[in-house]
């Protein structure tokens, strides 16, 4: 049964090819798109159940399908690495992916690029499954770049608007910076361990003959570079808010639930390296902490419904990085899963709002939707509650709780208190969003209702967001015992704090809302607020430090100095061509003469040399 795991990749890939080559009409395209992912998910769930019932002795299995090329010691295989971490990721990808496919069939209706949309979405699922199943660095990189490509294609899906194209390019280029760091790290790993098999690399990293503290630190930092690019963490977080230019279900799937968590997966997968490089692991924690605070502050003051969610995604992934940084490995993966549920729910609900309010995204033009769109309201409250980690009844509570306990146990108090402050901010901004959009007097009336295939995913994701906290991930064989599972003192107090904190946050949001303080003004607002809204002016900073000098350099060097060298080479080549072509006279005498002359030359060289 385990051998069938390739179907999880191949079925969506097949769907991609069919959709791309045939461009079928809407209804057929929707069935192909959703059908292949549904079949993949069904196969995967069967495999997962089988895996759980009788797990392999070592806790993992490798399914080898063939060798791609075999040149010397370089033998990259098509093989799937299957353990509980992989299966967890795969379940999230195909499960949430399937729901979002179904939702998209309703959301994208009557879009001229309907089949194209589904083909990209299927390609994304295929690439993402390759990424998490890869057992060697090359395959991992292929999946990694594949999802990057799909992200690019889908952000710029409505390519007629140049702004969307710009956003797509920005996402692609910014993540490329991280990818470059990552692939340098991969090369260093290959040099050090002379294999690209991930499990083998991790095993050898413990061996004394390979051990090299400084190398591990550098490699781990380079991998972190790749992770921050893909997962939109400081300092490469700037692309994600702009990535909201894509269709909203895409934001839900790629820029919230799955792709942006690839960085978390990468670090969790290579955790032995990070554990042997404490400096790098510490850096992971700091990146997470700073990102979650900075992005949380930005989320407080946004006016675009999708940008709020985008900043909140950055902030929540910050929590996952924080968890990785303090060694709460499985807690991070747990938060990854619950976040996938509730953030997908939130994005889809936001999508419903946008869909029904004829593509308005500005929350100042919304209000009072509570009565007009009851189902959307309910799912939005569940999503925001989970995001704010309302105690006991939401999944977000359990996962965030574990991360913060892990931070407490790690002994680094900045991590813990920073996380607590972040949790308060989260509660405030999420309920600010709920109150502004769904309470008060209606400003815009929805002109049509969400279709059934949009409602069903909302309900299912809502259930998952509530019940997801009860899922017990069996990651103990894969990831080491996390810092959150060690019991030290003071947990009662922390729990009490974490229960009270979100409630305080919600109350604060309500109080502010009643007082009319919603931070939605666009003019005459305090400088700090605008600063936060512009994402702490990182874009302006990068423009000033990187883009403008580069453009300036390019302008100055318009008649490229370096290029003249190449022109000379081209001239030389052309000249050589002319000289050489003189020899081709077409007369046999000359040809025979050259042969004999050349032969004599060679013979004398061989004899007298």
């Amino acid at each position: 049964m385990l051998n069938a795991i390739a179907c999880v990749t191949l079925l969506p890939l097949f769907g991609f090819f069919v959709l791309t080559l045939l461009r079928p009409p809407e209804r057929v395209a929707a069935w192909i798109g959703c059908g292949t992912v549904a079949a993949a998910a069904a196969i995967l769930f069967t495999i997962t159940i089988g895996f759980l019932q009788n797990p392999p002795a070592e806790g993992h299995a490798v399914v080898h399908y063939g060798t791609w090329v075999g040149i010397g010691s370089f033998q990259p295989g098509f093989s799937a690495w299957v353990d509980m971490l992989t299966l967890t990721m795969l379940c999230i990808i195909t499960g949430v992916g399937f729901l979002i496919h179904v939702y998209s069939a309703g959301y994208m209706v009557r879009d001229e690029g309907f089949a194209r949309y589904f083909s990209y979405l299927n390609l994304f699922i295929a690439a993402m499954t390759v990424l998490v199943m890869a057992d060697n660095l090359l395959l991992l990189f292929m999946g990694w770049e594949g999802v990057g490509l799909c992200s690019y294609l889908l952000i710029g899906f409505w390519y007629r608007d140049p702004a969307n194209g710009a956003a797509a390019r920005k996402a692609f280029i910014v993540t490329r910076v991280g990818d470059t760091a990552m692939i340098i790290g991969f090369f260093m790993l290959y040099l050090q361990f002379s294999t690209i098999d991930i499990a083998e690399i991790l095993r050898r990293s413990h061996e004394a003959i390979y051990f090299n503290q400084s190398l591990y630190t550098v490699v781990a930092l380079l991998l972190l570079g790749g992770a921050v690019g893909k997962s939109a963490q400081l300092p490469l977080q700037t692309w994600l808010p702009d990535a909201m230019a894509g269709p909203t279900p895409v934001s839900a799937l790629i820029h919230a639930a799955t792709m942006v968590t690839a960085g978390v997966y990468l670090i969790a997968r290579t955790h032995p390296l990070f554990m042997q490089a404490p400096l790098a692991q510490h850096a992971v924690g700091w990146v997470g902490l700073l990102t979650l605070l900075i992005a949380g502050a930005s989320a407080l003051v946004q006016v675009d419904i999708k940008r709020i969610l985008a900043y909140s995604t950055i902030s929540q992934i910050g929590y996952m990085f924080l968890g990785l940084g303090v060694g709460a490995w499985s807690a991070s993966i747990f938060h990854l899963m619950t976040h996938a549920f509730f953030k997908a729910l939130l994005f889809l609900s936001a999508g419903t709002v946008i869909f029904c309010l004829h593509h308005k995204q500005d929350i100042t033009e919304m209000g009072g939707l509570r009565k007009l769109m009851p189902l959307t309201f309910a799912s939005f409250v569940i999503g925001c509650g989970s995001l704010a980690s309302l105690p006991l009844i939401t999944s977000g509570f359990y996962s965030k709780d574990e991360i913060l306990i892990g931070a407490w146990n790690s002994g680094e108090m900045a991590f813990f208190w920073g996380g607590v402050v972040g949790a308060l901010i989260t509660a405030v901004y999420s309920f600010r969003l709920v109150f502004v959009v769904f309470f008060g007097a209606p400003k815009t009336h929805p002109d049509h209702a969400p279709t059934l295939n949009m409602q069903v995913p909302l309900v299912l994701l809502g259930i998952l967001s509530v019940m997801g906290g009860a899922i017990h991930l069996r990651l103990d064989g894969v990831l080491p015992i996390g810092s959150h599972e060690v019991s030290t003192g003071g947990h009662g107090m922390i729990s009490a704090l974490l229960i009270v904190l979100p409630l305080v946050g919600v109350a604060l949001a309500w109080w502010l809302y009643r007082r009319g303080i919603t931070w939605t003004k666009t003019t005459g607002a305090p400088a700090a607020m605008l600063f936060f809204r512009r994402g702490w002016a990182f874009d302006a900073l990068y423009d000033a430090v990187l883009v403008h000098p580069w453009v300036w350099l390019a302008t100055v060097n318009r008649s490229d100095v370096v290029d003249s060298g190449y022109t000379a080479v081209a001239r030389l080549t052309q000249w050589l061509y002319q000289q050489a072509s003189i020899t081709q006279t077409g007369s046999v005498r000359w040809y025979a003469g050259v042969m004999i002359f050349g032969f004599t030359l060679i013979l004398s060289a061989a004899v007298f040399l």
């Binding site: 046999v588 050259v594 002359f597 032969f599 060679i602």
Partner: protein, 537 residues
């Protein structure tokens, strides 16, 4: 001499090919039906392929001291037969719409294939020479087809007869060198079998007293081989002959004829162990470097596609030599038989070369088949040779993608594969050779390889660009002066494409892509064969 049933069975493919050529010849005498003859030829080749299939995986068996049938010969003979079948189909399409009697062509095709198969299985200079001459003599006549073009008026186009005579004379010189070299080696060692010569060359007696004989013999044989492989300075005939010969014959010339010679030296190379004389290494290095550079330079601004591909095949022979050199250096350093990655690289590369060239020349051949569809008004001359001329001018490929999307795409794949662009088998082959070169630390040669590949990229991409350029009015203004074909006055020739031929080309293009994306099985098969050879030898 021991000749039993197993030997007969092993010889079966050769017998089958011989019988097929006799049957086709007799048939031609009674029924001049083009389709029937072509079908019979295909049948003969198919039966031979089936015979080969029968003995895949057998243990090596020597049939007389001349030939050895083993997994190596079976594997490469199969490729030769497949290529011959493709060429048969191409010829059928090509000559169907042309005047003149072309049925005898298939007899020659079969005998040429026979020669190639004999070469692939020979372990003795006698059978080597025999196979080579069967192949060459058939090719002299093949190149001169179709006979009617004696009447052509257009002097600018190359004539097949002219090409045939050039090939005859120059190949005669090369064969003479080869025969002389064999005589010298025989004088030095008293042996004519590969293994015997190898053993004798290692003995000190030969080393000391008859060094000059041996060295002279080796160099002469190298010259003869280099002629067939079109290596500099024995490359001059290539463009003229490739250009003058009808397109399907060019395809045969570039693939089967060269391929058989490459397999032969690969086999001879497997016997060679230990020291390679430094002088030979130096000479081969020089030839490899110059071939890579000169081949690519000559192709640079060539406006005739067949000539361009001919020059490109010169440089490809140079690339293969890099892998041979890597093997020579490695075995000299370690005083063992050449084995491992170098030999794998050679074997893989020649298969990739066969496929790529077959596809490239195949497309030219298919485009030259069929009746002319649109005849643009031309400024000079009438429409005299439009019916017989091959579609090989650069102007014929102008915006081809918009007229013939399938053929242009397949051609683009073949060109990219020649250039060594990833996702094609050509990339994998070049990567293999590169890896072999790195293993033996041939840095200077690799530098030349990179530089010449860079030059090569220009003319491959130039052709691709020409094909994909938008028709009339679609000028983008980039690099017009370099990219545009020189003779813009000549009319573009567009013909009807036979449907069957189109699917054949799509299939070949697909194989190039498939083996470029997933070459694992082919590599594993080659490694298996070479391991088996090593155990047997």
């Amino acid at each position: 001499m021991n000749f039993g049933f197993p030997h007969f069975m092993a010889l079966l493919p050769v017998i089958s090919l011989t019988v097929a050529s006799v049957v086709v010849m007799l048939c031609t005498a009674f029924f001049r039906r083009h389709g029937l003859i072509a079908a019979l030829t295909l049948l003969g080749l198919g039966i031979t392929l089936a015979c080969l299939h029968q003995q895949s995986g057998i243990a090596a068996i020597e049939v007389t001291p001349l030939m050895q049938f083993d997994r190596l010969s079976v594997f490469f003979s199969a490729w030769i037969l497949v290529a011959a079948m493709v060429v048969t189909l191409l010829s059928w399409h090509y000559f169907r719409t042309r005047e003149g009697l072309s049925e005898e062509l298939y007899v020659l095709l079969l005998t040429a294939t026979l020669g190639a198969v004999v070469m692939v299985s020979s372990i003795h200079f006698a059978s080597f020479f025999l196979g080579l001459e069967i192949l060459s003599v058939s090719l002299f006549a093949l190149v001169a087809y179709p006979v009617t073009s004696l009447t052509r008026k257009d002097r600018s186009a190359a004539s097949p007869i002219e090409a045939g005579i050039k090939y005859l004379i120059l190949a005669g010189i090369a064969s003479a060198m080869l025969a002389m070299g064999m005589a010298f080696l025989y004088a030095a060692t008293g042996e004519l079998s590969f293994s015997g010569i190898q053993t004798m060359l290692q003995t000190d007696a030969v080393h000391e007293s008859r060094n000059l004989y041996a060295m002279g013999g080796i160099v002469m044989i190298l010259a003869g081989v280099a002629f067939k492989l079109a290596l500099v300075p024995f490359h001059m005939w290539t463009p003229d002959v490739y250009h003058g010969a009808p397109a399907p014959v060019t395809a045969f010339l570039a693939t089967v004829s060269k391929f058989a010679m490459l397999v032969l030296i690969l086999r001879a190379f497997l016997f060679a162990r230990g020291d390679h004389p430094e002088a030979v290494i130096a000479v081969v290095t020089g030839v490899a470097a110059v071939s890579m550079l000169v081949g690519n330079l000559l192709a640079l601004q060539q406006n005739n596609v067949k000539r361009m591909l001919a020059y490109s095949s010169i440089s490809h022979s140079g690339y293969v030599l890099v892998a041979f050199l890597a093997g020579m250096v490695a075995s000299t350093a370690n005083a063992i038989k050449a084995e491992g990655i170098e030999v794998e690289a050679i074997a893989f590369y020649i298969v990739s070369y066969l496929l790529t060239s077959l596809t490239a020349f195949g497309v030219v051949s298919v485009l030259s088949s069929g009746r002319e569809r649109v005849s643009y008004s031309r400024e000079s001359g009438g429409n005299v040779d439009a019916e017989t001329r091959d579609t090989d001018g650069l102007q014929d490929y102008e915006s081809l993608f918009w007229k013939r999307p399938v053929m242009a795409s397949v051609f683009a794949i073949a060109l990219l594969s020649s250039a060594g662009i990833p996702l094609t088998i050509g990339f994998m082959g070049k990567f293999y050779i590169f890896a072999a070169g790195v293993t033996s630390a041939l840095w200077w040669l690799l530098l030349v390889l990179i530089a010449s590949s860079g030059i090569g990229l220009f003319y491959y991409l130039r052709l691709v660009l020409v094909m994909f350029r938008l028709p009339e009015g679609g000028h983008d203004g980039h690099g017009e002066e370099v990219m545009a074909p020189a003779q813009t006055t000549a009319a573009a020739l567009v013909r009807e494409i036979p449907v069957g031929a189109r699917w054949l080309m799509v299939l070949l293009g697909g194989v190039i892509l498939w083996l470029g994306v997933y070459p694992g099985p082919l590599m594993a098969e080659i490694r298996d064969i070479l391991v088996a050879m090593r155990v047997a030898g």
